[in-house]
């Protein structure tokens, strides 16, 4: 049999490398991505064309006209002033109520899923109660809320009430100054207001909020009875006060959300009856009005209900009640019952598979339009994105059966069709997973979306079980529940479902920067290259170290100091969040909080501690070079190295060459890999694992990159791996340094597989050859590669399949390449939304050629 199918005749040529999709033959390589988007309906095509992207880069918003609104900050402040004297948890509920009853409701043309979180779809809200400094920063920016004077007044009002003021008191100002720099450690969340949450969507969809209100009311009645019991026992009786307040706050919050949803219903009906002229859209608006009348008050009955309920819940938990990053849920599992009702049984909101695909496309566009009023640091470190939105699909069900279903496929197909950078997606890879779905996963990757990123199903499930044993109330994940996990942000798995999900950033997120820590370790804890100040404890001058082990020990001390600072800052934040930033709505929809009358920030049933080392490989490669050239071979002294680094290698080119040529991570090299494995397991993970966090469990590393590999690179001087000062660091938690993996993609996997102990997750970027992936052999090759990846017990992998030609063309004419998407780290971005230097770092990542540069040419010649 001729294996290349039929040779294609084209412009009098045979194309001997047939594309999987022959219609691509007319498309020049450097434009490919502009031809891959295929919105499945005219509506989603229009919605995408008018999408109000809120991408930020280098701290600035990319599109014109995007700015901060004042409405939310005005309303929360007004409520805070008015509620003085009431229990804090009630004040929080009243704040939410004030926002939801007075805020502007937005309805846009063509939308089916509706709802926005600011007074205009070009705006995003601010959160002065989370970080007054972030508001101050907005006030001096081009995106300042109007009037600025009012915004400044509001920021000032919150200073004494802020988490920052409350929490800072318990830290040495020297430590705080070091944290604020974001060079060895990320700034504390009590200063930046950054947060993440995993809302238990299941209860909203399955129960509806009226049922939650009823539960809270019953709990209050019961509590009152308990309090009135004779004889009075204060040791238990007084605990009810706090619980009653919490349940009351839940009732206020749920009622406010129902009323807010119904305000949307009214708006739709008013527009249908007074403004809309198209009869078809008119009846659609009335259908949306009907949905918003019923949900989220009542349980969802069909797929349209479910999408709308999910979106309302998202807006409250991530953007209105407080700012929180993320989009964590197991979407295919969550929506499957409603898919069955609408698409298979057609008992409610009957629709076809294609209609379900359109719903997913519309949801992706809502996320793309979402604006996050986050602080400058976080606008810098996710270049080209509006925020981190990551959801999860695939994997195994509780009973071990394949979790892929037709909803999974609809999600993947819509994602491939609509081609937006957000939300990013995780696919849980299990050998049992059906091939049909894996082909769709492959198609998204092949089309260069950069996602789904792929996680090892079993490793994730085992982690849920591991953490469960530390549960403070002995109620961590059961072996069955352990299967219900989704990535909380880019990388780390956490439980999803009706209870035990992660509610605040104390559990996970936040960064530590091993490369910068290495730099200061060589200088007795002093940072000469960015801040010109002492950044850590005095652990000795490197020129006095007699052995490599002394350097190792000094590094470990510096790292431990920074780790203790960052986790302490997170847990102290959480302590105060539980007292001043309660989340009554999120509490109301969590079965645990509802049962126990406890706030979502306060209650922890399933520990899931993690923290992100970013720039680990620069530090690790540096240690390898030092050990080899200074301690093993004694080719150079530490004094010489320090001089060379201070000179940014100028005049030390021979040395730089030797340090550059020292063995590097990602080449299956025994010398380098042994040291680096120990670095990951003994220091990076080993030191973290000794910490006990708020939830009573250990903290484990989730090595990744986000945009910080560039930001931290720019704050890190020259390093002994041969890198110049300011250059980018490694772009993934465990990815080889850009261009230093010389032995191909299998050697990378082999190196990475050596790190197994004390890790939670590690991000691995791979760039694969585009023509090979787009050929008819693409899936089979990738599939064989993935099977080996799975057998090597590696936690994660994600792919960039983008041609250098197209990236270079996009640098020249950005306006022509709006649909070129690249994987930055744990998220994808439109290539043109990234600063030029960041683009260059992505081009520099080694393209794993699968054996031949040859194919690139062939494709060009098509």
């Amino acid at each position: 049999m001729v294996q290349t199918a039929q040779p294609i005749e084209y412009r009098n040529k045979i194309v001997e490398f047939p594309l999987d999709n022959p219609s691509e033959k007319d498309i020049p390589d450097e434009e490919l991505h502009e031809h891959l988007a295929k919105p499945s309906t005219d509506r989603t095509r229009r919605l995408k064309a008018r999408c109000r992207w809120k991408h930020a880069s280098a701290g600035e918003f990319v599109e014109k006209g995007v700015r901060a609104g004042i409405e939310r900050m005005r309303l929360i402040t007004e409520a805070h002033k008015a509620s003085n004297g009431k229990p804090e948890v009630i004040r929080r509920a009243l704040g939410l109520e004030n926002i939801l009853s007075k805020c502007t409701i937005v309805l846009q043309e063509d939308e089916f899923i509706i709802g926005y979180h600011a007074e205009d779809p070009n705006m995003f809200p601010l959160y002065p109660e989370l970080s007054f400094m972030a508001v101050q920063d907005y006030n001096i920016s081009d995106y300042a809320p109007q009037p600025v004077s009012e915004s400044q007044e509001i920021a000032d009002y919150w200073i004494p009430h802020s988490l920052q003021t409350k929490a800072s008191k318990y830290f040495d100002p020297v430590d705080l100054g070091r944290m604020f720099n974001v060079s060895t450690m990320e700034a504390p969340s009590f200063a930046t207001g950054y947060n993440s949450v995993v809302p238990p969507y299941e209860t909203v969809l399955e129960d509806g909020l009226l049922a939650r209100i009823q539960l809270a009311e019953e709990n209050i009645q019961n509590a009152r009875k308990e309090m009135e019991k004779s004889p009075w026992d204060a040791t238990t009786g007084l605990e009810w006060i706090h619980k009653i307040d919490t349940w009351e706050s839940m009732i206020i919050a749920c009622k406010a959300v129902i009323n807010w949803a119904r305000r949307h219903a009214r708006l739709c009906a008013i527009v249908a009856e007074n403004f809309e002229t198209d009869p078809q859209r008119k009846s659609e608006l009335l259908e949306i009005a009907d949905i918003c009348e019923r949900i989220p008050a009542e349980p969802c009955k069909g797929l349209k209900d479910a999408f709308q309920a999910k979106w309302f819940t998202y807006l409250i938990c991530h953007a209105i009640d407080r700012y929180a990053s993320g989009f964590a849920h197991k979407e295919d599992k969550l929506l499957w019952p409603y898919y069955q009702k609408s698409v298979i049984d057609k008992t409610f909101q009957p629709m076809t598979y294609a209609d379900a695909v359109e719903m997913v496309e519309m949801e992706r566009l809502k996320i793309s339009e979402h604006g996050a009023g986050k602080s400058r640091a976080y606008r810098e470190i996710f270049p080209g994105s509006n925020d981190l939105f990551i959801f999860t699909i695939g994997g195994l069900n509780r009973d071990g059966s394949d979790g892929c279903n037709d909803m999974t496929d609809a999600i993947l197909e819509a994602t491939r069709n609509i081609r937006t950078t957000e939300p990013s997606m995780v696919f849980r890879w299990a050998p049992e997973g059906r091939e049909k779905t894996k082909r769709l996963v492959f198609e998204c990757i092949r089309d260069g979306l950069g996602f789904p990123s792929i996680k090892h199903d079993k490793i994730g499930t085992e982690q849920m079980k591991y953490y469960a044993q530390f549960s403070k109330n002995n109620n961590g994940a059961t072996d069955e529940e352990a299967h219900d996990w989704a990535n909380v942000l880019c990388m780390s798995p956490g439980l999803v479902g009706r209870r035990k999900t992660q509610k605040t950033r104390s559990e996970g997120g936040g960064s530590i920067f091993p490369a910068k820590i290495l730099e200061i370790t060589l200088n007795n804890g002093y940072d000469w290259s960015y801040t010109d100040m002492q950044m850590g404890p005095e652990t000795g001058h490197a020129e006095n170290f007699k052995t490599f082990e002394e350097l190792w020990a000094a590094y470990k001390k510096q790292y431990a100091y920074a780790m203790d600072c960052v986790i302490r800052a997170k847990d102290v934040s959480r302590y105060f969040e539980a007292r001043y930033l309660q989340a009554p709505f999120t509490s109301a929809i969590d079965d645990g909080c509802m049962e126990l009358g406890e706030d979502a920030n306060a209650l922890s049933e399933q520990p899931n501690g993690w923290h992100n080392p970013i720039t680990t490989v620069v530090a690790a490669n540096s240690l390898v070079a030092i050990k080899k050239l200074i301690f093993d071979e004694k080719k150079y002294t530490m004094d010489q190295l320090l001089d060379a680094l201070k000179a940014n290698w100028e005049g030390y080119e021979k040395m730089q060459k030797d340090f550059r040529q020292a063995p590097k991570w990602g080449n299956d090299d025994e010398y380098a890999d042994t040291i680096i494995r120990d670095f990951y397991e003994d220091i990076i993970g080993g030191v973290m694992a000794k910490i006990v966090n708020y939830s009573g469990g250990p903290v484990l590393p989730v090595g990744q990159g986000v945009g910080l590999y560039m930001e931290i690179g720019s704050r890190t001087g020259p390093t002994p791996d041969g890198r110049y000062g300011g250059e980018a660091a490694d772009d993934g938690g465990i990815s080889p340094y850009m261009g230093s993996d010389k032995k191909g993609p299998t050697a990378v996997l082999k190196s990475v597989s050596k790190v197994q102990k004390n890790q939670k997750a590690n991000l691995l970027n791979q760039r694969l050859s585009l023509p090979i992936m787009r050929s008819k052999h693409g899936f089979d090759i990738w599939h064989a590669y993935m099977k080996a990846w799975h057998d090597l017990n590696i936690d994660h992998i994600q792919f960039n399949v983008v041609s250098t030609a197209e990236m270079k063309a996009a640098q020249k004419e950005p306006e022509k390449h709006a649909d070129l998407i690249v994987r930055v780290a744990g998220f994808s971005a439109r290539f043109v939304d990234i600063p030029t230097y960041g683009q260059n770092t992505i081009i520099a990542r080694n393209e794993q050629q699968f054996g031949a540069q040859d194919f690139e040419y062939l494709n060009v010649d098509l």
Binding site: V2, N12, E16, T746, H777, A784, L792, F850, G851
Partner: protein
């Protein structure tokens, strides 16, 4: 007798075009033939060479300082900029200049590996071979220029249970080829021409022993894949294609498969890097698809049970 040990230009992991599945390919340096279109010029000369990258060169002169033979020198060019000159004929291949270069403007081509080192390297990817039906390919250059080494290497690989392919021109005494049959899962052989005179004239060696050896291999039941390279101004002719067809016709029930490899230009840059740009007669020859080739491709359809590929990706055949 001391076994002659070749230099290796590369052990390429995750190779997809040198036999079925995901493979590791060992490129041996040195070849008795000199095909003017060769896209791996670095594998022709059995001696070590170096690549020179002018873009990375700063003209600092470190290489000039260490050059023993005067092959490398600096001069002032017409625009008063320093120019670096390399006279490869004078070069004694001491490689001191590569050592001295601080900017990565020179790299060595051709390194020594023991058989044990090669086996260790390729064993690292055993898992990938298993999932894809791949293995190891000994290629070149010409592995049969080092028959003993190749035999020992193939045996060592076989002892590890790996699938072994040998990519060869078959230009060698049959007696040196025969022992390989037992340890080789697949022979991948080229037939560049069916015209003995043309073969001798252009490639420099006779065709007859090559064709004899290939037919021998087939006759004794070895697993053989034929490569037909399509070279402009050489064999891109209906006469050649007709002979290809009749060859396939004759052996269609015995061949493992046939790969049609169209001429490509990726070797061009390597000639420049080796300082042999001037000698490359195929410079600026652009591949195109002639009507003859088109007819050939269509004619191939009639062999509907022969595994035929274009450009040599045999594909993935996962082990059961």
């Amino acid at each position: 007798m001391v076994m002659k040990t070749p230099l290796i230009t590369e052990i390429q992991r995750f190779s997809l075009q040198d036999g079925p599945g995901i493979r590791s390919t060992i490129f041996i340096k040195g070849c008795p033939l000199h095909c003017p279109w060769c896209h791996n010029p670095e594998t022709q000369d059995a001696q070590p060479e170096f690549y020179y990258y002018p873009d990375k060169c700063t003209r600092c002169g470190k290489c000039v300082e260490v050059c023993q033979s005067g092959a490398t020198s600096l001069s002032i060019g017409p625009n008063k900029q320093p120019e670096l000159n390399i006279d490869r004929k004078k070069c004694v291949r001491c490689m001191q200049c590569v050592e001295a270069c601080l900017y990565g403007a020179r790299t060595v081509v051709g390194k020594s590996f023991s058989i044990a080192e090669i086996v260790q390297e390729v064993l690292s990817d055993r898992l990938f071979y298993g999932h894809s039906g791949g293995g190891v390919t000994i290629s070149g250059g010409e592995p049969l220029m080092y028959p003993e080494f190749t035999l020992n290497l193939a045996r060592a690989l076989k002892e590890e249970g790996l699938d072994v392919a040998i990519e060869t021109s078959c230009f060698q005494k049959w007696a040196r080829i025969a022992p390989l049959v037992q340890t080789t899962d697949l022979f991948i052989v080229d037939i560049k021409s069916f015209d003995p005179q043309q073969h001798k004239k252009v490639i420099g060696k006779p065709l007859e022993p090559i064709l004899d050896n290939i037919q021998h291999l087939i006759a004794i039941g070895a697993n053989v894949r034929i490569h037909f390279p399509i070279i402009p101004d050489f064999n891109d002719l209906s006469s050649y294609f007709e002979q290809c067809l009749s060859f396939i016709d004759r052996f269609q029930h015995q061949l493992n498969g046939v790969d049609i490899l169209r001429y490509h230009v990726y070797g061009e840059k390597k000639y420049d890097l080796l300082g042999r740009g001037d000698t490359y007669t195929y410079k600026n020859v652009k591949p195109c698809i002639s009507n003859e080739l088109l007819m050939f491709a269509k004619a191939l359809k009639r062999f509907n049970h022969v595994n035929i590929t274009f450009d040599g990706i045999v594909g993935i055949k996962p082990n059961k």
